[in-house]
Symmetry: C2
Subunit: 333 residues, 2 copies
DNA sequence: AGAATAGTTGTAAACGTTTGCAATTTATGA
DNA sequence: TCATAAATTGCAAACGTTTACAACTATTCT
């Protein structure tokens, strides 16, 4: 194995300085005389010396690595968040260890612990649900954590997200103004913070405020086929306008409606609460709450860099602005 | 900071053994007497000792970390590959450092070097193009590399993919049998190994074999809007059947056709060569070459685990079988 | 019982850096 | 020119493990 054949010692010897000086040159420490620096640099280049990040991590207790916890890599919602994170991470020279936590052989707290054992300098957590076990795991450590695209119940953790209640209310209002009165809410997991403490209360309040009765909340509708199969139930319940938490699910409902010979938006208006690429490529294109996913990821990562440097972070609960993107799945006045 | 307050020393002291013994217990070494093991385990649990993976990595020269090089996280093609990789990585207890290399501030070889400096035990490379600089970077090291969903020109690197030539030929044949004669090929980057050495030759051969003339190859058509805008050109060239390398691009063509009042498949048949979720949720659903993306990722990662353990790997160029999934964008006989 | 062997444990040297501190060199000021 | 301060360098101790190797203990065999 010649995995790491040349070390800081080799450079030191060749450049006739101590390893401490080489270390200073490598780390851009200013306390090195110009010609010494140049001599060392020359040797570094000649030998193609590259510092061993593991040894650096052990000695300095900083690994320049952050952990990303994500439910599902193939969900574009998380992929777009990740892209924002990744770009900022690159900018600040952090690497990313990604851990997905859905359908796992490993419990979530074990996954987190594994990340912490790798001595990541910080963690970004993206699941829309932060279970107690995860909270406990995080609390056992000093490693800073930022939530991206989600919130926790007690605002214990810094987070970057949007105002879900406001967004949902605005979306419901759009349907209402289109004359729809039988409004439904379609959710995946109803027990997440976003569902339980934001979307559901907003929906209930809206229905009550407008005298629309109890309404209908459908839960555990998680993917395209769940959405597809839900349509008959929606018909049965006389739903004419629906907010769907995930866009693939919304597309399932949409396709089901089309296949059943129904017209969207005439017979059913659909708004998705999480717009990814998919929402815009289907036809009719889905009206959506457009969360600035890339920005959420980028801002979260930027905040994390500050926390990792013990810099001051005045505002720890950041809400970015969203947009209601009117497309073809709602009436165009 | 109490990041890692208890070390193997603390456990050793409490359990009245040497750190070597604790290390053996932690690593499941069998050369420890049963009651000693239990005593140590008890202390480990009481103190919540967790080994520091960085120190382990330095001492053992194995980091149980693999690097993933991917062009774009938000491209479902790579996300689905990654999922297969991730699942097998979890099974074998590897963590994944993910590095995306498109539109970067960093050159590709620097990204690779960064991964190697972190002492990853292996690398999976997923871009459909392996530039010379990347090859050089890999050759400077002993770290094993496996290509997933792509191949290199000289088969220097182990790879897991499908037979692109055969798949494309079969797809072209499907169009031909549907009576289409003005067949086109729509590509992103034409200079990748997959394009230049597989898809284009297969296309040219097919056209020649069937006396269909030169044909039309459209290049640098990379996303939905590129596809959308390409339609007029396709019309102008009288194309009636097209193979599209990426499915979002295919959807762009499809949507453009629909918006222009054309009928798919009647006026234009479309086959995508890379089916992700998107190909199946649009309407009409796209006929596709379905690559077993998850499996490609999983097999690639499994092969990598063997290489990392210096196990025998008899077959280093693996081709998995694909499937032509007939949907609504080609004629249903 | 004693020798040979197998099983268990400890000692200490790596692994490749960073970094506080001391030592040395150079610059500054009177 | 010499004392003093500032800048530069080196020394050596961390960082928290793993792992030869040696040393010791328990077991087996004759």
């Amino acid at each position: 194995m010649r995995k790491q054949d040349i070390t800081i010692y080799d450079v030191a010897r060749e450049a006739k300085v101590s390893m401490a000086t080489v270390s200073r040159v490598v780390n851009g420490n200013t306390n090195v005389r110009k010609d010494t620096r140049e001599r060392v640099m020359k040797v570094i280049n000649r030998l193609h010396y590259q510092p061993n990040a593991v040894a650096q991590g052990l000695a300095s207790k900083r690994t320049t690595t952050v952990g990303l916890i994500v439910p599902d890599l193939t969900n574009l919602y998380f992929a777009e968040l990740s892209k924002g994170i990744d770009d900022i991470a690159l900018l600040y020279k952090y690497n990313i260890i990604i851990t997905s936590i859905e359908n796992r052989l490993m419990r979530e707290d074990q996954a987190i612990q594994g990340l912490l054992n790798k001595q990541v300098d910080g963690v970004i957590y993206m699941s829309d649900n932060l279970p107690e076990e995860a909270i406990e795991a995080f609390k056992r450590t000093d490693t800073p954590v930022v939530l991206a695209g989600t919130k926790d119940s007690h605002s214990e953790f810094p987070s970057v997200a949007i105002d879900y209640q406001k967004a949902d209310t605005e979306a419901l209002n759009l349907l209402y103004n289109d004359g729809r009165r039988n409004l439904a809410l379609v959710l995946g997991n109803p027990d997440t913070v976003v569902s339980a403490e934001n979307r559901i209360p907003a929906y209930k309040k809206f229905m009550a405020d407008h005298g629309l009765g109890e309404g209908h909340i459908y839960t555990n509708i998680k993917d395209h086929s769940d959405g597809y199969n839900l349509l008959s139930q929606l018909e049965q319940d006389g739903i004419d306008g629906v907010i769907v938490s995930r866009d693939v699910t919304a597309v399932g409902i949409l396709n089901s409606a089309i296949d059943a010979g129904k017209k969207v938006p005439e017979d059913l208006e659909i708004i998705t609460a999480n717009a990814t690429q998919i929402a815009s490529v289907v036809r009719p294109a889905l009206t959506a709450i457009r969360q600035p996913l890339y920005d959420i990821g980028a801002v979260a990562m930027r905040m994390l860099t500050k926390l990792m440097n013990n810099e001051e972070v005045p505002e720890k609960q950041i809400e970015l602005s969203y947009e209601i993107l009117k497309k073809q799945s709602t009436t165009n006045e």
